[in-house]
């Protein structure tokens, strides 16, 4: 049944009686500090208890899919940065992967290894920010400062090679924008050495905190069945106990050649989502450690920069595992240098919708913890 917003906002018929409570509606957002942007949630409340959550979208809908139809495949890469800006490199990779698959561009080992290293470093960077913001949302400002302290170290590494701090625009169809900086290997190694004890500190500082555990444990349980039916992916799905990771299931890059584990939760509550992400940082460091010492020699770009890449007519789909889940790019090509239609299957859209299944019955304060543990990025939802 399709229900509109007006249907749901109608007051319940069975009100009245001496001890009855009244249900009411309240807007959370679009200007709210813990919705991580301009997300609007219409909450149906009974006192402090949440009865229903209705996400309302569109406050940052920029029409990226439509703009994509007017740009060459290379030009579309820079728009993919602005989708989920915290995993910009992985978004670039998703576009490049799809176009390379369609245009049949073979890549050398050097490009694949560098891409994998960059993607894993970005995953660490994204989770560092999430960790800091989770602390801030739950009332502790210190994790925010600690998370950003370590994030800046990694940002410097990226900036040296790519010249940008946030929207890198680095991975492009046919290779990479620039070769890695001569200092890159050295600095990544020193970062790994620096960050390993810091990750233990993270767990001591925030993970071992009783207040945090009380607010996260057994809050917002997402059953595996619901998670799959909602289309949730990434750490949200894995915390519910489904070990679905594209890096294992359909390996791209050089993920098939490296050893790493996929952390899986048991209950699917906020604490599992917290733990899965912390463990993912450790696994990402493990992947980078295996690759950083032997980056093969070769060219970093196999297609001439001035050439418009032409894709043969057909339907193409490519997907990667970003820091938040599966980003799929669906391209309808008509044989020219421009896509006929681009559709983006963004991870946050589905992850957000799982909140409609989790939240009923919980308190408003739990909603903040849930939103934080889902780790949503709103421009990725709205495109």
């Amino acid at each position: 049944m399709v229900s509109t917003l007006e249907d749901r906002v109608r007051p319940p018929a069975a009100a009245g009686g001496p001890l009855s409570t009244q249900e009411f509606f309240i807007n959370m957002g679009p200007q709210h500090p813990s919705t991580h942007g301009v997300l609007r949630l219409v909450l149906k409340l009974d006192g402090e208890t949440v009865r229903e959550v209705i996400p309302v979208l569109g406050y940052i809908h920029r029409g990226i899919e439509k703009i994509g139809e007017h740009q060459t495949y290379r030009q579309f890469v820079h728009l993919s940065d602005r989708l989920d800006y915290l995993s910009a490199l992985m978004n670039n990779w998703a576009v490049s992967l799809t176009v390379e698959k369609a245009a049949k561009i073979e890549l050398n080992d050097r490009i694949q290894v560098i891409r994998t290293i960059m993607a894993e470093l970005q995953r660490i960077q994204s989770h560092q920010l999430w960790w800091g913001v989770l602390g801030m949302d739950l009332g502790a400002f210190t994790p925010f400062l600690y998370g950003f302290r370590d994030r800046e170290v990694l940002t410097d590494v990226f900036e040296e090679t790519m010249g940008a701090r946030l929207t890198m625009n680095y991975i492009q169809p046919g290779g990479l924008m620039q070769d890695i900086h001569p200092n890159f290997v050295e600095r990544v190694k020193s970062f790994l050495k620096y960050f390993k004890p810091k990750l233990a500190e993270y767990e001591e500082l925030l993970g071992g905190n009783v207040i945090l555990q009380e607010r996260l444990r057994k809050v917002g349980r997402l059953e595996a069945k619901t998670a799959v039916s909602m289309g949730a992916t990434g750490p949200v799905l894995r915390a519910s106990g489904v070990a679905h990771d594209l890096r294992k299931k359909e390996p791209y890059g050089v993920y098939s050649k490296v050893a790493f584990d996929v952390p899986v939760g048991t209950m699917g509550d906020c604490w599992d989502r917290y733990w899965v992400r912390i463990e993912e940082m450790r696994q990402s460091m493990r992947i980078v450690e295996q690759l950083i010492d032997n980056i093969p020699a070769g060219k970093h770009l196999l297609v001439k920069p001035a050439i418009v890449i032409k894709v043969p007519q057909g339907l193409y789909y490519g997907q990667v595992e970003t820091a938040r889940g599966i980003l799929g790019i669906f391209v309808v090509a008509d044989g020219t240098g421009y896509p006929y239609r681009i559709h983006l299957r963004t991870p946050n859209f589905n992850n957000l919708w799982s909140i409609t299944a989790i939240a009923p019955g919980l308190r408003v304060a739990d909603l903040v913890a849930i939103l934080s543990s889902l780790d949503i990025v709103v421009p990725d939802i709205d495109r």
Binding site: V38, Y59, R82, F148, T167, P379
Partner: protein, 211 residues
């Protein structure tokens, strides 16, 4: 505060030597306004990470410029930092937030999106081409996204504006001192004309494959 800024000049004007006193009063009031800016936490997209979060965090530390007390409520804030794209659906909400803020209020527009539309200037049906149609902007900080250092330069510029801008004699009336000069032989009209001609050619280009 309202008593000082609104009533005092009326009483003092006939008194000899009052202009010197009011001038000093201006300096004190503007100095304190400039050094205690309370920004509203308003981030819509990518710029929020750099301008609101990284700038406020450990390395860059916006507290050095007295602008670290980010308030989620517009009623407690006096600086609106618009960080990120504003689309047509968000524009009325932004206007509401701006109107809820108490005077004197200041606006910094960070990032290409709120200056001109940025990466979404062509072919987007929903992005606003520039924020200045919705709220008056005091300082623009370009970049996509701007570095935290660029944001600091914007804050310092705004502080300069506040210190020289307003007097207690004419509250609400803001003078804008010249902070940056255009290149020689170039006028604002020429720049606007150039931008307009670009937009016109885009509109007339017709088929996307020709453009």
């Amino acid at each position: 505060m309202g008593l000082i800024t609104e009533k005092l000049p009326l009483y003092l004007d006939p008194v000899p030597g009052s202009s010197w006193f009011l001038g000093k009063l201006d300096e004190v009031i503007n100095w304190s306004r400039a050094n205690s800016l309370w920004p509203l936490t308003f981030g819509t997209s990518c710029c929020a990470i750099e301008v609101m979060m990284a700038a406020g965090a450990s390395r860059h530390d916006v507290a050095r410029f007295g602008a670290e007390v980010a308030r989620p409520s517009p009623r407690q804030a006096d600086l609106l930092v618009v960080a990120g794209t504003i689309v047509k659906r968000m524009a009325p909400r932004l206007r509401t937030l701006y109107e809820q803020m108490a005077e004197p209020r200041y606006v910094i527009a960070t990032g290409s999106c709120v200056i001109s539309g940025g990466p979404f200037i062509y072919h987007s049906y929903s992005t606003l081409r520039g924020l200045d149609g919705v709220v008056p902007v005091d300082v623009y900080v370009p970049g996509c996204p701007p570095r935290p250092e660029a944001y600091f330069y914007g804050i310092l510029t705004l502080q300069k504006l506040i210190k020289e801008g307003e007097t207690v004699r004419r509250p609400g009336e803001r003078r804008k001192p010249v902070l940056a000069a255009l290149p020689a032989g170039m006028t604002v009209d020429q720049i606007q004309e150039e931008m307009r001609s670009l937009l016109v050619t885009e509109k007339n280009s017709g088929d996307r494959r020709n453009g």
